[in-house]
Amino acid sequence: MNPSNYAETAAPAAAQRLAGLLARRLGEKIIEALLFLAALSSVGITVGIVGILLYESAEFFRHVSVVDFLTDTQWTVLFTDPHYGIMPLVTGTVVTSAVALLVALPLGTVIAIYLSEYATNKVREIIKPALELLSAVPTVVFGYFALLFVTPLLQRLLPNLPGFNMLSAGIVIGIMIVPYVSSLSEDAMKAVPVQIREGSYAMGATRLQTALRVLVPSAFSGIASAYVLGFSRAVGETMVVAIAAGQQPNLTLNPMEGAATITAYIVQVSLGDLPHGSVAYQSIFAAGLTLMLMTLVFNIAGYLLRKKFREIY
């Protein structure tokens, strides 16, 4: 091969290689941009949720004054004489969530202490996935269970209990959210450094004393997040209350009565044929906005609590 011939073939090859390199660079950039868009889409979901809730609620509050919304004691949107007081729905939501948390928080915390401090590895390997199955059961199945198993059972103890009541719905929701509370609390306790645990044992403390006086306070910020998540789940739970608590708005704090929650109301209205743009249609968005604000308040409270008790090792 003579030199001139070599130069003639080398130049196009180099150009080709350069073009290939540029194409590859460009391809890399395009892929990175696509991946970034996918990640950004999660922010889009939040923007969509907040935007739609605010937009439709604004329409709602053009027909209904905020004062009525907050002070009226009746919620009868679908009646000929409509009242728009959110209070009965809020009390229903608060009562069912309170019952649920009374069940879930103690049970979840005890289970977390047991799994993290007492159970052998083998026992934990079996119990943890089994408990997690509890949170995988479809909520509509829990609703069936609350209405047709737990309520009849409770009626044997409390003969005056009506067929639809918040007590049974709350208890079932409570058991349903136990895995959320126990699993997150256990992770928090497991994350406490081993020296702290050993220090307590060296002082002659038992496992129980170590758990209650050393681990729970040290892991408090993690346990608080578990409780806040439990609360969010309880407040947002829909099918169990829609099935087992009745769907009548009822301004009461007595868990032995039936009542509608915010979520149950949304379901009830959505089941009917709602004309787009009517006040009833907009009312479910106002109810949804109230629900979001309730969870937001608790999340902020949880955040402040965590910040206050945060332990840094």
Binding site: L35, T46, I52, I113, A119, P138, V141, S270
Partner: protein, 306 residues
């Protein structure tokens, strides 16, 4: 000294007693959860097993409880899950890979991360409201399989992202460096090394996420899914060119949990039996999917030795 000694001894034995008592108490507490789970499954099985038959799986809902079935419900669930999986998996995996492998440390990344953590706490019915306002009325997708699939996809997106991040993070740095040393670009490294190694973990997360989507009822009721559907969406396969049809995407639909909700909210006891049978099928789907996820997690954990 002797009395003080016995007093201390008594204190110690009391503390030991409490300690042991708590061990039993803790075990009992876990049993509350496990017994509830078994009671629930037994209750469904006792009520619903008699109604479960080939006829039940191949019939449309009906006014007569003994003739009613879940054909339109399980077909609807399958189609909706198809849309959900084909939307949530690519988006979730892409987002997870971006956050682990590409994302620079800046405020935008921090915002995305905080946002994903917060989305996990948003009640599912709120996703339904968003879908009603956005997909059904703004984008005019109607109360269709497509709307339902997209709604559930958004709902499970955070779960898929978190699962992807965890399994991508578990791939050791040496693998990355080895790929770079051989001249691979970033995407080649991700595509040929990181993704294949983390497939097991991602798959586990996807199955768990889909099993959650199958059971979701509230957001689909909110977008206006009908409870009484006595027909099937158009077939995705056609005899004439181009052989594939997407008409089913825009079809009205019902799904398993909505069908069950419809039956359980009726006063007649016979319909409650149908609800139990539908619940049994639903539970079976959930248990099989979760069992598969647990098995996969166990298998991949055992097989991979870095």
């Amino acid at each position: 000294m002797a009395p003080a000694g016995t007093e201390r001894g008594a204190g110690a034995s009391r503390r030991k007693f409490y300690d042991r008592a708590f061990a039993i108490f803790g075990l009992l507490a876990t049993f509350v959860g496990l017994i509830t789970l078994s009671a629930l499954i037994l209750d469904l099985a006792l009520d619903g097993a008699d109604r479960l038959s080939a006829q039940f799986l191949s019939s449309f809902p009906s006014r007569f409880p003994e003739q009613a079935g879940i054909l339109s419900a399980w077909v609807g669930t399958t189609l909706v899950m198809l849309v959900t999986a084909s939307t949530a998996v690519p988006m979730g995996v892409a987002a997870g890979v971006y956050l682990e492998e590409y994302a620079p440390k800046n405020w935008l990344t921090a915002l995305i991360e905080i946002n994903i953590a917060n989305l996990a706490g948003v009640p599912s019915i709120v996703y339904g409201l968003m879908a009603l306002g956005l997909f059904v009325y703004q984008l005019r997708l109607g109360q269709s399989v497509l709307t339902a699939g997209l709604t559930l996809a958004l709902l499970i997106l955070p779960i898929v992202i978190v699962a992807t991040r965890e399994s991508v993070r578990a791939v050791p740095g040496s693998i990355h460096e080895a790929a770079y040393a051989l001249g691979a670009t970033k995407w080649q490294m991700v595509k040929d090394h990181v993704l294949p190694y983390s497939t097991g973990g991602i798959l586990t997360g996807v199955i768990i996420a889909l099993s959650r989507a199958i059971g979701e009822t509230a957001p689909l009721i909110t977008i206006g899914a009908l409870t009484f559907i006595a027909f099937l969406p158009g077939s995705p396969v056609k005899a004439e060119f181009p052989f594939i049809s997407f008409d089913w995407l825009m079809s009205p639909f019902t799904v398993m949990p909505i069908q069950m909700f419809n039956w359980v909210s009726r006063p007649q006891e016979e319909f409650h039996l149908n609800a139990a049978a539908a619940g049994l099928v639903l539970m079976l789907m959930t248990l099989v999917m979760n069992g598969l996820a647990i098995y996969l997690r166990y298998r991949f954990r055992k097989r991979i030795r870095w």
